[in-house]
Amino acid sequence: MATSAYWRTRLCRYRLIGNRCQSCDRVFFPPRFMCPYCNSTKLEECKLPDRGRLLEYTIVYSTPKGYEAMTPYVVGLVELENGVRVLAQITDVNLENIKEGMEVEACIRRIPEQLEEKIICYTYKFRPVIK
């Protein structure tokens, strides 16, 4: 990945920022250029809630290059408190303790991407909420 390409997605990756259609109020993640429901291009940045629940998950064994050290890992579909859904890795959890419906929260974790400038890259993942 080009460093600039990584930099452009920093708000999504670090802070779960999507956008909201100003005319119909729908929220998108990742952010869109245009609302596909009302075709408005008036969209504003919108911070998504950090918490949600795990709707469904899978344990991934066949993984791309760079992911060897973390394989197997979990990918899940998370529904955030405002109803917006996000696909992400689920982290900081033992495979035997994971279950659908569990409460999760966003966190920032390193990803195995190599930029030319040797910057360490991060993205959002979700982890169980510790009560």
Binding site: A5, P30, T58, T63, L77, L87, I111, P112
Partner: protein, 387 residues
């Protein structure tokens, strides 16, 4: 609108063709289709090349131009179609529209893919490259993991076991066992499928296609032209494309597959048929669960009854609704961008009674469906026996 037909076919076996290049595969299938029809390349007035991964795996872009050059096709129209697994179906759709509207008379459509010389990890990355790279690259989300979320949702909603869904793979292999162009012309047992390694829980390695190479070509032309050529031909009765939200997190229901429902209903309407009129169906079973879901979305059974239809035996070659009559993606093989053209070739073989051991008795009309990224683009093509 003019009546449009497929008047000739050519194809390679789906396999690991170590000795053949992307261009070599294209030439083999295309020249066969031309030779079968007794046509010279000069008689063509259009070429569509369907492919998914050449830009990624061979670093070869500009495909139609390169292939037209190889074919010595200098004075015509050549266009590449690049829409992942939907590419082959879209190429046929375009050729069909051109001929129906009288823009072109005789068009060669060739789908070609070469995946065997890339590492499995590069193939995985290529498969993921059809997704939105800006946000999903290096997220750890693999294409198999998305399919697994659909799979688990299906099992829970309809309260079915994995064995019931995995049966799709067993049936496809059974049909491929007598298919000479299949990548895996042998049977597998349900036990073997269930014991295969897990790629993304619960999906087993024997529930998905393997990387492969292959090319398939068809000559699409007007009915008059086909009569002039004097070869057996089949009618393209309908061709419809539909889209759905690309990102699974933006679909309110992972099992809705709205584009497949829409494209198939429009195609049935155009062809003036009901699902029950179909003599056979070729599915895009890139995962067993996608094949099962497709049975429902195509209207061949009620929602949640795909598994019941599989178990009924009606989807076998001798049943009332044969599916994947040459083995489908799993067993005939899935040269991704070429799949839609292989399906058209197979529909041709069925409808001119040349399917050999895989012949469906009294085949009158067949549907093929291919798609990209969990049916974010879907093409449904319907073919009919002609004359």
């Amino acid at each position: 609108m003019r009546e449009v037909v497929i008047a000739s076919i050519g194809y390679t076996r789906v396999s690991e063709h170590w000795e053949k290049s992307l261009k070599g595969l294209f030439m083999e299938a295309s020249l066969k289709a031309l030779e079968n029809a007794g046509l010279n390349v000069k008689s063509l007035d259009g070429l569509y090349v369907a492919n998914a991964f050449a830009g990624y795996l061979q670093r070869q872009t500009n495909l139609a131009n390169i292939m037209a050059e190889s074919l010595g096709f200098f004075d015509g129209f050549a266009i590449s179609i690049d829409s992942g697994g939907a590419s082959g179906g879209i190429a046929i759709h375009e050729a069909y529209n051109d001929v129906a509207r009288g823009i072109r008379d005789i068009v060669l459509v060739c789908g070609v893919e070469k995946m065997s010389e890339a590492s499995p990890q590069d193939v995985l990355l290529a498969q993921m490259s059809v997704g939105d790279q800006e946000h999903f690259r290096f997220s750890g989300i693999t294409i198999h993991s998305l399919a697994a979320l659909i799979y688990k949702t299906y099992m829970k909603r309809f309260n079915v076991k994995q064995e019931d869904i995995a049966l799709m793979s067993v049936i496809s292999h059974e049909h491929a066992s007598t298919c000479s162009h299949a990548q895996f012309p042998f049977k597998v047992s349900l036990e073997a499928v269930m014991k295969a390694p897990i790629v993304s829980d619960p999906i087993r390695a024997l529930e998905i296609p393997a990387p492969c190479d292959g090319a398939a070509a068809v000559i699409v032309c007007s009915h008059e032209k086909a009569k002039e050529i004097g070869l057996p031909h089949i009618k393209i009765a309908a061709s419809r494309i539909a889209r759905d939200s690309f990102n699974l997190n933006e679909r309110s229901d992972l099992l809705a597959m709205e584009a497949l429902v829409r494209a198939s209903r429009l195609a049935y309407e155009d062809a003036r048929i009901k699902p029950s009129d179909l003599s056979f169906v070729e599915l895009y079973d890139d995962y067993t669960v996608m094949g099962v879901l497709a049975l429902e979305k195509l209207g061949l059974c009620e929602p949640g009854e795909g598994v019941k239809l599989l178990k009924s035996g009606e989807v076998s070659l001798k049943g009332a609704m044969p599916v994947n009559t040459f083995g489908g993606l799993k067993a005939r093989g899935a040269p991704v961008g070429a799949v839609g053209v292989y399906q058209a070739v197979e529909a041709y073989l069925q409808l001119v009674d040349s399917a050999g051991a895989n012949q469906v008795k009294n085949a009158r009309v067949g549907a093929t469906y291919c798609g990209c990224c969990f049916n974010s683009i879907v093409v449904v093509n319907i073919f009919e026996r002609c004359c």
